[in-house]
């Protein structure tokens, strides 16, 4: 988006101020975030680490139980199931979402009239997507008497409750996640703007087709942005909670088919009064996300192209 480009232009047009001062400015602008981290998030994070090694029922004081929580995870079949659901969700919805975002970014990048309007319209779902209101709306749309079934009804198809059938409930959540493609789309747009037009001009002169241009110019030069989006969206998808919570009424149902990892963690903590185990689960999630991010970075050496 233009703001990113503008930042870049600002950076290059100002006559090279010392790097240190840049950093100071960055820290200054980041300070509200740091304040929030230290004052609000850090305490609970540290507490949850300690609680991960305790038996804590929320009401009575916690008791240390060593590694018992972690041993329990090995035999917790519902946890294994929740991991399966979460992996399916992440590895189906993230590629779909990114493909969608890139496709629309390419369309919008062609400089049509009213671009700002369309950009905002497509970005809107991302602002709303993780909100409770949209999840409630999803319940309505894919419920037994919902909009989706009404549309099916026009074609003479008798629908069912899509959110309450274990075969389809997870798919509705994947659709919801794909629909919130706005944030990666905006970043893709910014990336596309960075690619110098002269490359395309040169390729066109050499007779390269649009597809060839896309493959040989756009994709390589955009690969750092794709990588950035991929890392971000995978982390994001692993942490999904609100959608599944609202759509399934907090149960992860039907039949545990939308039992996201975070939802299972929440249920252990707040339904079963098992906060020690839930805290340990939170740290396992952190490890899982760290591993996937590390794999991502390792693999990126093979396909991400840095033009510097």
């Amino acid at each position: 988006m233009s703001s990113l480009g503008e930042l870049q232009r600002l950076g290059s047009s100002t006559a090279g101020p010392p790097r240190k001062r840049d950093n100071r400015a960055a820290f200054f602008f980041l300070s509200p975030w740091f304040a929030g981290l230290v004052l609000i998030t850090a305490g609970p994070v540290a507490a949850s680490f300690v609680l991960g090694f305790t038996d804590y029922n929320l009401i009575q004081p916690p008791e240390f139980n060593g590694l018992e929580n972690f041993q329990r995870m090995l035999h917790d079949e519902r946890l294994h199931h929740a991991l399966g659901v979460t992996f399916t969700y992440v590895f189906v919805s993230v590629p779909l979402q990114l493909a969608f975002a890139l496709g629309l970014a390419l369309l919008l990048d062609r400089g049509m009239r009213g671009l700002a309007f369309y950009r905002s319209v497509f970005y809107l779902p991302s602002l709303l997507g993780t909100s409770v209101a949209i999840a409630v709306l999803w319940r309505q749309i894919f419920g037994a008497d919902g909009l989706f079934n009404q549309v099916l009804g026009w074609f003479g198809v008798q629908g069912q409750s899509w959110i309450s059938d274990p075969g389809t409930a997870l798919s509705t959540l994947i659709v919801l996640n794909v629909w919130t493609f706005g944030a990666p789309m905006v970043i893709f747009l910014a990336g596309l703007r960075q690619i110098p037009v002269m490359y395309y001009e040169a390729a066109a002169v050499d007779g390269a087709s649009k597809a060839r241009q896309f493959r040989s110019i756009t994709l390589p030069l955009l690969s750092p942005i794709i990588f950035f989006n991929l890392v971000l969206q995978i982390i994001h998808a692993f942490q999904s909670f609100t959608q599944a919570f609202v759509v399934s009424g907090g149960t992860g149902g039907p039949s545990d088919s939308t039992m996201f990892y975070t939802l299972y963690l929440y249920q252990r903590g707040f339904h079963s009064f098992d906060m020690g185990y839930a805290s340990a689960l939170a740290w396992l999630l952190l490890v899982i996300i760290a591993i996937f991010t590390a794999i991502n970075f390792w693999a990126s050496k093979r396909w991400v192209f840095y033009d510097d």
């Binding site: 409750s161 274990p166 907090g250």
Partner: protein
């Protein structure tokens, strides 16, 4: 043997009293003077719209008499209520007055989250309560909760729908579970599938209790072990499968969706099912939502059963948080809820037919229609000994039941496998607590 000196005995007694005071409440003294200063209490309950309105009227009546006490109501529907309560209790931010259910009573009380109401007997009396009913709120000799009223599991039938489809109301003195299937089938067929004969009954624990008791079994032993025979549980689920497969109950996904929705969106409340299993105390809320004529029927199968399936359940309880800063004022308010005719006249039978016998006898003549029907229902049914209070750790039993019912309805588990799995999981939850 060494005997205590008088002085030693006094010290021990004082220490004991101090300990009791510490353990009992975090902030104030439950038997202290009522404050003349401005005091704010938080009061939380679950329920339907009809209940929210009535409860607000009760609050208004109380604060009119005690202008220095403000009561902030926090109300939710059942599904969100317990998440919110667990979160606030954990954050040491529990509401002062808590509407409590039998499912969760032991889980909260045995972990010390609730005040022993006997320590507030200066402001809160229980002398007019039926002793047996009162005992349902006591654990190990401590009165953690006062029952609001009694309820019994029942069948609700929409007679307007039966009239419309020319189906006769079954004789509930003799009807069996097979009769329910037959009549439900007639309704489903006559309406062309627009209305289903009955709601599925696999989603609340009352149905399982009834099924077990009619076969002389029980879900829990008195010691709190899960003792329902898996074969019996499997037959319960087989019945639900038969209903869904035969079109007598809605298709699985619709049943699941409705079971997760608030009462106002149930099949009975939206006139989409002619029969449904409910607690008798829910009749008024259901009738208000439905707008059609609803009638309470005795449970199917009682005439054929080896022992009575029906029982009196304390419909819900009043509790006070053990960490309330104003336990005395909270006790005064609970006293108003439990013992005042004024409050009872507003609430009627919405929280069950009052367990306070004095209130009940004064109330029943004033009742109209659905409230009266709910009250009379209790006297007409045959009941056995009430089941044991849900053990500590088993408060999730309805979630576990629901998940297994879903597994069975969607043919992911056979009723037999589901039964084995249910018993194992529920027992593990109790053992872990």
């Amino acid at each position: 043997m060494k005997r205590f000196t008088r002085r030693e005995a006094l010290i021990v007694a004082a220490a004991g009293a101090a300990l009791a005071a510490c353990g009992g409440n975090g902030g104030g003294n439950a038997n202290g003077e009522i404050s003349g200063d401005q005091v704010t209490l938080r009061f939380t309950w679950w329920g339907s719209d009809a209940r929210h309105k009535r409860t607000q009227q009760v609050i208004d009546a109380f604060t009119k008499a005690h202008p220095n006490i403000t009561i902030k109501g926090e109300f939710k529907d059942w599904n969100g209520y317990w998440d919110a309560l667990a979160t606030t209790v954990a954050a040491n931010d529990a509401p002062d007055i808590i509407q409590m259910d039998e499912l969760y009573l032991a889980s909260y009380a045995e972990r010390g989250a609730l005040l022993d109401l006997k320590t507030a007997d200066k402001h809160l009396t229980t002398t007019d309560f039926d002793a047996k009913a009162l005992a349902t709120g006591a654990i190990d000799g401590k009165q953690y909760a006062i029952p609001t009223g009694l309820a019994a599991y029942s069948f609700v039938v929409n007679t307007d729908l039966l009239d419309k489809y020319k189906v006769t109301v079954p004789d509930d003195a003799t009807w069996s579970w097979d009769d329910l299937k037959t009549v439900a089938d007639q309704v489903s067929k006559a309406s062309g599938g627009k209305v289903t004969g009955t709601q599925s009954l696999g989603f609340d624990i009352g149905g399982v209790n009834i099924w077990a008791r009619q076969h002389g079994a029980a879900l829990y032993s008195p010691e709190g072990k899960v003792v329902i025979p898996p074969d019996l549980l499997a037959s319960f689920w087989q019945y639900q499968v038969d209903l869904a497969k035969g079109g007598m109950a809605p298709q699985a996904s619709v049943s699941v969706e409705r079971a997760g929705a608030p009462l106002d969106q149930s099949g009975t409340a939206t006139n989409a099912s002619a029969f449904g299993s409910w607690w008798n105390s829910q009749l008024t809320s259901l009738a208000a939502a439905s707008g059609q004529k609803l009638k309470l029927l005795k449970l199917p199968g009682e005439a054929q059963a080896s022992s009575a399936g029906g029982y009196y359940k304390p419909s819900m309880f009043w509790s006070i948080s053990s960490r309330s800063k104003q336990p005395a004022e909270a006790a005064l308010f609970v006293d108003f809820l439990a013992n005042s005719q004024e409050a009872a006249d507003i609430m009627l039978t919405d929280r069950g037919v009052p367990a306070n016998t004095k209130i009940r006898s004064a109330l029943v003549p004033k009742l109209t229609d659905t409230d009266k029907a709910a009250a009379e229902y209790l006297d007409t049914i045959k009941v056995g000994e009430s089941p044991r209070v849900t053990p500590n750790g088993a408060s999730d039993v309805e979630q576990i039941l629901k998940r297994h019912t879903e597994d069975v309805l969607f043919a992911r588990k056979t009723p037999q496998d589901a039964a084995t799995s249910f018993v194992k999981e529920l027992q593990a939850a109790i053992d872990a607590a």
